[in-house]
Symmetry: C2
Subunit: 400 residues, 2 copies
């Protein structure tokens, strides 16, 4: 079949442009602030090695056979205990579904609830991967501004009133209340309370993305949306940021009927039992909390180093709020700075970041933003990377 | 949110009945011929343990970080070599996508090519999980009979002519040419040649399911569809039957543009790098072929035992052809036998099988078929299980 015939067979989704299809590999020696990748020194290799040996030696065949579409029961028990403890919501293992990362958790929610054209309200900006998933499912995305104070609740109220007046109803509201990707923001408690009330009034489900929730630095001083509305929220989470993204193990929990419908809607016969058992053992050994404590210390030092280095090298040329957790600084460049041009010059100086426009819903997004992930890069490279960025800025200002 | 409000939010797919939602757990002590599950004695635990230790010790961090949506390059290289060798089609690693089992390989092909209402031609009967995936994507399924000689090519020809006359075109033709699930059949070489020609004339893509291809017993004496039409076929495969389903590692390969579009269409950020690296090491150690040789000997003994025990206990009451590979016997009960009733009586006798109607497309499927998986059960239990079935048959005939 020639490629013309083949491309004629593509469906709506197959014809979409993937958001990362335009991402180019940076040149050798580049210091990369591009991706939300954990610090390599923090990955608990020895503990996972021990857990994997124990699983294959002691559980043997059970770890290599099919699980269920809910996922491995042993891991679900461990996660259920953790969710119950963290969110103060009594969560039995049967309200947990193991997924291929938080991304698949979101995918099966979309598969279950969205028909093409259905309305999804999302924070704007938001994680590009999630926006892609909504688009893949044909959602009509309605953006609501989200800044350093998190989702703008008044703007949400207005959007919902507009929909109500038009006789429309959103199906989902997608929110990342803690350590937002890309903005790093935390939503205040008062906004959270108003959010769950507004969603309840609108009769729509909240999807709470908590992928970064447990890689805090200063901690979270507000209740989760799940804890405020156990029957109106589903939570997508993952071990990717806590332990290692290569595992691809996440979960979906929250409003039980939504979770159960979503589990029934997957088409992949479940997530790896082998890996689930390894992780369950790691969790059963009470290894996660001390591990996370160490991880948080590492990210605290890196965040502070980035903040300091950014002040020294970007000074008055950009504004930002240092995040209380998560992996990202979200910088807004001074009005006279051409960020796409800066991105090119930075590339020449061998430093990279994620241009902020990628995280916005609009076809014509705002351009002055830049997302820097401080998580993967060493402190030495954070300092050197920002010196390089400083040189790129100097060149930009001289050229401009 | 009350469950009434929530169920009102469900989309088309969320409202579908999942094919396995009605499957009930058999009573304690049941000998289960229900699922296509590998023999537990054959799972290469020690080798996987060694591979996992080597990966975490020697590759460390690389095995725990993100891969790409194509999947881990190291495993893709190993699979590409194997596909090239087995199918005689030069396949670079960039034409392999690692997936969560063959089921996700099929899912991303559907996500890429199907809009609701698009036509998919499928063998009938076919694997229930695949039919579910097509339905989840809103396909209009057109069944073509598939029996002990595999897909009925004349019937396919007729179906395609009918579509052409109506101005319609199928997007996909779904076929399992080797060790078919559920029928166990192999498609003869001549049928395969006619199939690829018909698909090319119709301008549609063939999806070749080769999940069982490498768990043969007597071997395959016909070319794969991929080898006959490298540009017109995508292949979905998996390590589930060869090594262990708990891994959930499969792959998609074949017509390169279709494979690449499908990889771009996933929403889960790739399949586990950790597990992919473990498997790559297992493959690099040349452990797979000797392992498969041992596995085939096990399944040969089990197949022969089942065949013999079925003759002794079902004798003239059912007809079947012993499969040349794969995991299944497909029995057609004598006309006067009520299979759903037999299933119930068998359950009381503590032996289970998969009722054949589950594998048919029609709302009103043929009822006399039964699928028996001989793969997981020990030879002792095969013999005992068929004695129990014999007792259930006696009771059925006496009652009836």
């Amino acid at each position: 079949m020639d490629s013309h015939t083949l491309s004629g067979l593509l469906g709506r989704r197959g014809s979409l442009q993937h958001p990362w299809s335009s991402v180019v590999q940076p040149p050798e020696g580049t210091i990369g602030f591009g991706g939300g990748v954990p610090d390599p020194q923090t990955l608990p290799l020895a503990q996972l090695d021990a857990a994997s040996r124990a699983v294959l030696a002691q559980e043997g065949v059970a770890a290599l056979q099919y699980g269920s579409s809910m996922g491995d029961i042993v891991l679900r028990e461990r996660i259920a205990e953790r969710v119950t403890r963290r969110h103060g919501v009594e969560t039995p293992p049967d309200h947990i579904v193991i997924t291929t990362g938080a991304s698949q958790a979101l995918d099966i929610v979309c598969a279950t609830f969205l028909d093409p054209g259905d309305i999804v309200i999302t924070e704007n900006p938001a994680f590009t991967g999630s926006l892609w998933t909504f688009r893949a499912h044909g959602a009509r995305l309605l953006p609501v501004a989200s800044g350093s104070g998190g989702l703008d609740i008044d703007a949400l109220d207005e959007t919902l009133s507009g929909l109500r007046a038009a006789g429309d109803r959103p199906k989902l509201i997608y929110v990342t209340p803690d350590y937002h990707n890309p903005t790093g923001a935390q939503m205040p408690a008062e906004s959270r309370r108003r959010l769950v009330d507004l969603a309840a009034d609108a009769g729509c489900l909240i999807v709470e993305d908590v992928a970064y929730e447990e890689v805090g630095i200063d901690g979270i001083d507000a209740p989760s949306l799940l804890s405020l509305s156990p029957g109106g929220v589903v939570q997508a989470s993952t071990f990717s940021k806590m332990i290692g993204p290569g595992l691809r193990i996440g979960w979906l929990t929250g409003a039980a009927p939504a979770v159960l419908y979503s589990a029934a809607n997957r088409t992949d016969m479940g997530t790896s039992v082998t890996l689930s058992r390894m992780l369950a053992r790691f969790l059963a050994d009470d290894a996660l909390d001390p591990h996370l404590e160490r991880v948080r210390q590492v990210y605290r030092r890196k965040r502070d180093a980035f903040d300091q280095a950014a002040r020294e090298n970007m000074g008055p040329l950009a504004s930002w709020t240092a995040p209380r957790g998560g992996f990202f600084f979200w910088l807004k460049a001074r009005e006279d700075m051409d960020v796409p041009r800066l991105w090119e010059l930075a590339r020449e100086e061998r430093v990279s970041f994620a241009p902020g426009f990628r995280f916005f819903v609009e076809d014509d997004p705002p351009m002055p933003y830049m997302r820097f992930a401080f998580s993967e890069v060493s402190i030495e490279d954070i300092n050197e990377g920002l010196r390089r960025l400083g040189r790129a800025v100097e060149r930009l200002l001289k050229d401009g």
